[in-house]
Amino acid sequence: MNGITMKTSKTNPFSRIWDLFVSPSAFVILAILWCLDLGLGSILAYKRDPQFWMKMDSLPFSQWLDRMAPAEWPGSLWVYILVGLTWLMVASLLFCTINWFLRRRKKARGMGEFLVHLGFLLVFTGFVMGSGWGSRVQNIALFPGESTRIEELGLALTLDELKIDRDAAGNVLDTVSMVTLADFEGNKLDGGEAKLNNPLIHGSTVVYPNSSRQAPRDVLVDVEGQGVVKISYPEKSDLKDGRTLEVINFLYPGQRMGKWNGPGVFLTLSSAKGQSLFTSYLGFSKELRTATFGNLKMTLMGVDAGDQAIFNVHRDPGVQLVLYGALILTLGTFWALIGYLMRPATVAAAIKDDNDS
């Protein structure tokens, strides 16, 4: 930044305001306030809820600010202040960059600093675009061969293949998925491998594997007087009397929920009109294998479980700008570093050089 004053600054009020905006001191004071707000605000938010970031990351920032921040008030006050201070800092940065261009552009050495400022402005612009017009669809669960429509993005995602890498102890190391992105007419837009640190990137849309899990595909239940009924998760299965049966949850081997131990399934019996009547747990141990749903006795016969991949799909229309901004910022730092290392050996000379330019 350049804090030099023009000859007219003492008389022209606009020049005075301009000089205030481009003053390094103004930027520093804003930066310190920004740091104080973020530091204190984030610690308090963490103390209130260590997982606060999960809620904030579930939506693009502007949408979180619009939909969820009011409900968090006054806990979200620090975020509102942060937004205000960020805009002021960016304004200061913008004016400084313009100032440099108007007054110091003859100095090639300062080009590094100019590029850093420009890069940061592009990153910020991209962030604003992404937070305003982006979308995040999370926890999309798919079995191999299964497809789903992502209405919010106008896309269909298909999991073609799934390979789960495990270590010797059986812990999941990585989930390697072959996925296809298509539009609603079935036209393939993109496809390929998606795994940790290597998501499928299609323009501003990113498909990345979040995790994997075992989930039930089909559950076989012997319903008293009706024989064996196959329930394909997550669909409902019709019973002979018009009522329906569905799997509402699944406990993996070793998983616990209250008094129940996995593996097993929670089944809900609903009326023909869809009203939930009874819910009970069926497991594989002798005492949990059979349960009564009203007047119906049911026995768990088997569960066909399979590996399921969980995906998050994000669309960020500003991400290209952010990446270009980061590239320019990086180039600027290299340029600045080379210029710095070629400076006069004494700092007194450097300070003089800085202030005279």
């Binding site: 930044m1 804090g3 390094p24 001191s25 930027f27 520093v28 804003l30 930066a31 310190i32 920004w34 740091c35 973020l38 530091g39 984030s42 610690i43 963490y46 260590p50 606060f52 970031w53 904030m56 990351d57 920032f61 800092m89 850093v116 962030f127 995040r136 890498d165 270590d167 190391l173 990585d174 940790l196 640190n197 290597n198 998501p199 990113v206 990345y208 998050n312 799909v313 994000h314 960020d316 991400v319 952010v322 990446l323 980061a326 910022l329 990086t330 730092t333 600045a336 570093l337 710095y340 050996a345 004494t346 700092v347 007194a348 450097a350 300070i351 800085d354 202030n355």
Partner: protein, 256 residues
Amino acid sequence: MHQYTLYSHYVTIALYAAALLSTPLVQRRALIPISLAFTGFAVQLALLIVRWVSAGFLPVTGLFSTLHFLTIFAVGITLYFAIRYKAARLLPATMLVTLLALWKAGQGDMNLAPLTPALDTPLFFLHVSTSFAAYGLFEVGAIVALYRLAGLPASTNGMERRMLDECIYIGYILFSWCMIAGSLWAYLAWGSYWTWRIKGLWSTLLWFYYSGLIHVRNRPRWQNTPINLLTIAGFGLVLFTFLGLGLLFETSHPLK
């Protein structure tokens, strides 16, 4: 590997302690503490390389490895200043901070844990190495600022201001690369270059803090006491962001 690590760890501590205790010699024979510190530095560097080759990846996760990594940079930078700017007087302070860091490192697990798949990317190397190089510079910068604040000469040819400037400027550039690499990595791993995780927030805070500092470091009005205090406070933020968050909070960069 554990025995070798343990042995090297204590040899390093002994050498740095000897460098610290030889402080009275700095006035007249700087070569002795410099040689001791340099030998300790070489042992630490050898330990890092052996563990790196043995593990197949840069071992910089966990309290033990990260504190060793940080001290390698801090000692290396101090030795560079000691030779380039005749600033061997910085050694006692750096040695003291380094010994404290290595004492804390000794409380961590010295075994090499397998690399978690998320860290298996070149961005990890770039992100961590630039981050700790910057932390090392910020640490030495704070030590120089402390000397200036106390009115103690750190360099025999009056290059304290130059050293402070190099620490802030080059540290800032390295930290910028750390942030860029980290953001790119987050984009590839989590689908977003920005998250509201507390570690990311405080790293950004640190970046903006030094952004402010870098803008005033050569301004006449901010010279002497203000810049010294800001540099020392900056290292306080580094310590909290690196150690405080990693030890006291549930973060994406755990040290517990």
